[in-house]
């Protein structure tokens, strides 16, 4: 789960990392505690908001109200801005970059630091980014901090302050099960202080059960995706018009890939997982119907999951609720014959191979849109 900048900064504050004074603003009274000039920042879960006009300066209250009106409700790459953070401006002597993420290959927390802060880290050359890995069994040690901070070329006092921030964000990274904690920029102020000007925090969804103090925020999901998440169904909306239901994430992805090969366009990724519970199958089909695909493509491979029990669930939905689009099925594996028998009279289109089914689904959906 990606946290909005202001919520990330609340966590920074909790862990003793300095952030600019500020608060969310919705109207005039919200500016009363703040000293001008201010910066107003749209709260969206994606980068590039500055270029999109989501960050604006205001030198007095009149300007602040105007800027607030402009930013609130604006669309930034598909996200409607519903929250705006106003902050006092900081005097900046130097901008740095600091992050901790998960290194999938080494399976360790990875610290990255650069003296070239304030820009997209992707555009910073590799030799300007310094890396240090932390053993998850012993946690961050003084040598880790020395190793990486010394490379930034800062003065002694500044290095000490940066080291303290690093130690604090590591603590935050671990305690809140983060996939990423990023400060860009981390600034050195004219009086030698260190302050986090931005925050990017991603908390591992699978660890949310032990972070009841973090209110879930499903802003990145479409309404149907939210609904699916609550039901425990892996469901992703894509751009096309063919809804794919398969069992297993890899198989569902491979099914979408096959459609593309035949110029079809996947509209929904729906992974039934290992379930053959008729109730779950029913919920899955109901979600799929709401996504209004032109064609539904059901691709099943029965292993532990029996094809016939899934088929029973499918038939129940189709006969009771009705499906107003063609359904192409391809069923293979454990008890496939029984499954085909069950679905024989349900008015479905049956195919024997993935390629055949993908071809037919694509043709029915009208090929390229």
């Amino acid at each position: 789960m990606k946290l909005f900048e202001y919520r990330g900064k609340e966590l920074f504050d909790k862990f003793g990392i300095a952030v600019p004074k500020g608060n969310l603003v919705a109207g005039e009274k919200d500016f009363s505690n703040l000293k001008f000039p201010l910066i107003l920042k749209a709260q969206v879960p994606i980068g590039g908001r500055g270029k999109a006009g989501g960050i604006k300066k205001a030198k007095d209250l009149k300007e602040a109200k105007e800027r607030l009106n402009e930013i609130m409700g604006m669309d930034i790459r598909g996200y409607n801005v519903g929250k705006v953070l106003a902050e006092e401006t900081a005097n900046i002597k130097k901008e740095l970059y600091l992050s901790i993420s998960l290194d999938r290959t080494k399976r360790m927390p990875l610290i990255m630091a650069s003296a070239e802060g304030g820009m997209d880290i992707e555009s910073v050359p590799d030799d300007k980014i310094f890396k240090e890995w932390v053993s998850p069994l012993i946690g961050i040690q003084a040598f880790n901090i020395r190793n990486i901070v010394s490379k930034l070329g800062m003065g002694k006092e500044e290095s000490k302050e940066i080291g303290k921030v690093l130690s604090k964000i590591y603590k935050l990274f671990r305690e809140y099960d983060c996939e990423l904690v990023e400060i860009n920029p981390l600034i050195i102020t004219n009086d030698g202080g260190v302050m986090a000007i931005d925050s990017k925090i991603i908390i591992n969804d699978d660890a949310m059960f032990r972070h009841n103090d973090v209110e879930p925020e499903l802003v990145e999901l479409t309404p149907l995706e939210k609904d699916a998440k609550e039901k425990g169904i892996a469901f992703v909306q894509l751009g096309g018009n063919i809804g794919v239901i398969a069992n297993g994430a890899g198989l569902t992805m491979a099914t979408l890939d096959a459609l593309t090969h035949f110029k079809g366009q996947g509209g929904v990724f729906l992974d039934l997982g290992g379930t053959d519970d008729p109730e779950k199958v029913k919920q899955a089909f109901e979600l799929m119907k709401k996504a209004e695909p032109k064609v539904i493509f059901l691709n099943l491979f029965g292993g532990i999951t029996k094809c016939d029990t899934v088929a029973t669930g499918v038939k129940a939905v189709i006969t009771k609720e009705g499906i107003n689009c063609p359904v192409v099925t391809r069923i293979k594996g454990m008890r496939e014959d029984e499954a085909k028998e069950i679905l024989k009279d349900a008015g479905l289109i049956t195919a024997t191979t993935l390629q055949d089914a993908a071809q037919r689904s694509s043709d029915l959906a009208g090929g390229e849109k």
Binding site: E122, G239, F301
Partner: protein, 288 residues
């Protein structure tokens, strides 16, 4: 021969008395796996398909000399279960459980290395060496003893591929599900290294997907270290960036982990790529 597991694995199941535990103990026994013990705290003295249940792993190991654990416990208890198995001297741990927090997985993966144990998973279907043993939830009906090694990040997709091999009469030396999470214990490189050394394995099949750089790392490794032919399928060519495609590890993040990058890396390493999952069987058949 086979890799990682064979007839010498004496399996203890953690989370043995739940619905999944009972079902899969039965399936494994039917496949010929030596399931010797089960563990569920508070249920010592019970039996599941004749397998004795113990209160903790140490008691189970002491009584049965189990050397392998299959972890089926819910995600929030998985870290504790793996630590317990490793501290009881278990040397092979297979973690089926899905949705384990990444930080927990990092800890137990590193602890398994410290304990010099093999850890497979999490979020995987397990491992099978047909004719010898099956530790996990892979359906026994699709497996066939033979000389192709299979390593995969996915479950059902692997069943589909393995089944299509079986339909051509092509069997497997070992089929290992590595897991769909970003943090896993056994990687493509570990499997490639073992398959290369295994005399019985004549060809290797890798099933990859978007997310991370495991396939790119594997391709580099193959160039330098693998002499046996390698075949691969990559799922997720049409997956959009930033979306988790079912598996926690299947996400294109910050421009990394695209299918194109993996396909390109494999092509450079002379790995033969299949367009559709079942085409793998054609490619392998042509070669053998």
């Amino acid at each position: 021969m086979a890799i990682f597991v064979d007839k010498n694995n004496k399996v203890l199941v953690q989370g043995a008395t739940g619905h999944q535990g009972v079902f899969h103990i039965g399936e494994m026994l039917g496949f010929g796996t030596k399931v010797v013990a089960g563990v569920t705290p508070g249920k010592s003295g019970q039996e599941v398909h004749g397998v004795p249940i113990f209160n903790n792993v140490q008691e189970g190991v002491d009584a049965t000399r189990a050397n392998t654990s299959l972890v089926l416990v819910p995600a929030r208890f998985a870290k504790d279960a793996v630590f317990e198995a490793l501290d009881a001297g278990i040397k092979t741990v297979v973690v089926i459980t899905e949705n384990i927090p990444f930080h927990d997985a990092m800890e137990f993966v590193h602890y398994s290395k410290y304990k010099d144990a093999v850890l497979i998973g999490p979020n995987c279907p397990g491992i099978a060496s047909p004719g010898k043993t099956k530790i996990g939830i892979l359906p026994g009906s699709i497996l066939l003893e033979g000389d192709v090694g299979v390593a995969s990040r996915s479950g059902t997709l692997t069943y589909e591929i393995v089944n299509s091999l079986k339909e051509r009469g092509i069997g497997q030396s070992t089929c290992v599900g590595l897991g769909g999470d970003p943090i896993i214990g056994t990687t493509f490189i570990d499997a490639l290294d073992a398959f290369e050394k295994d005399k019985e394995t004549k060809a290797i099949v890798l099933v990859g997907e978007i997310g991370g750089t495991a396939e790119e790392d594997a391709a580099e490794y193959i160039k330098e270290n693998v002499t046996k032919p390698v075949f691969a399928f990559i799922a997720g060519r049409t997956a959009p960036p930033g979306k988790r495609m079912g598996h926690a590890g299947a996400i294109i993040a910050r421009g990394k982990g695209t299918a194109e990058s993996k396909i390109k890396a494999f092509e450079k390493a002379d790995v033969k790529l299949a367009k559709f999952p079942t085409d793998i069987a054609d490619l392998v058949e042509e070669h053998l």
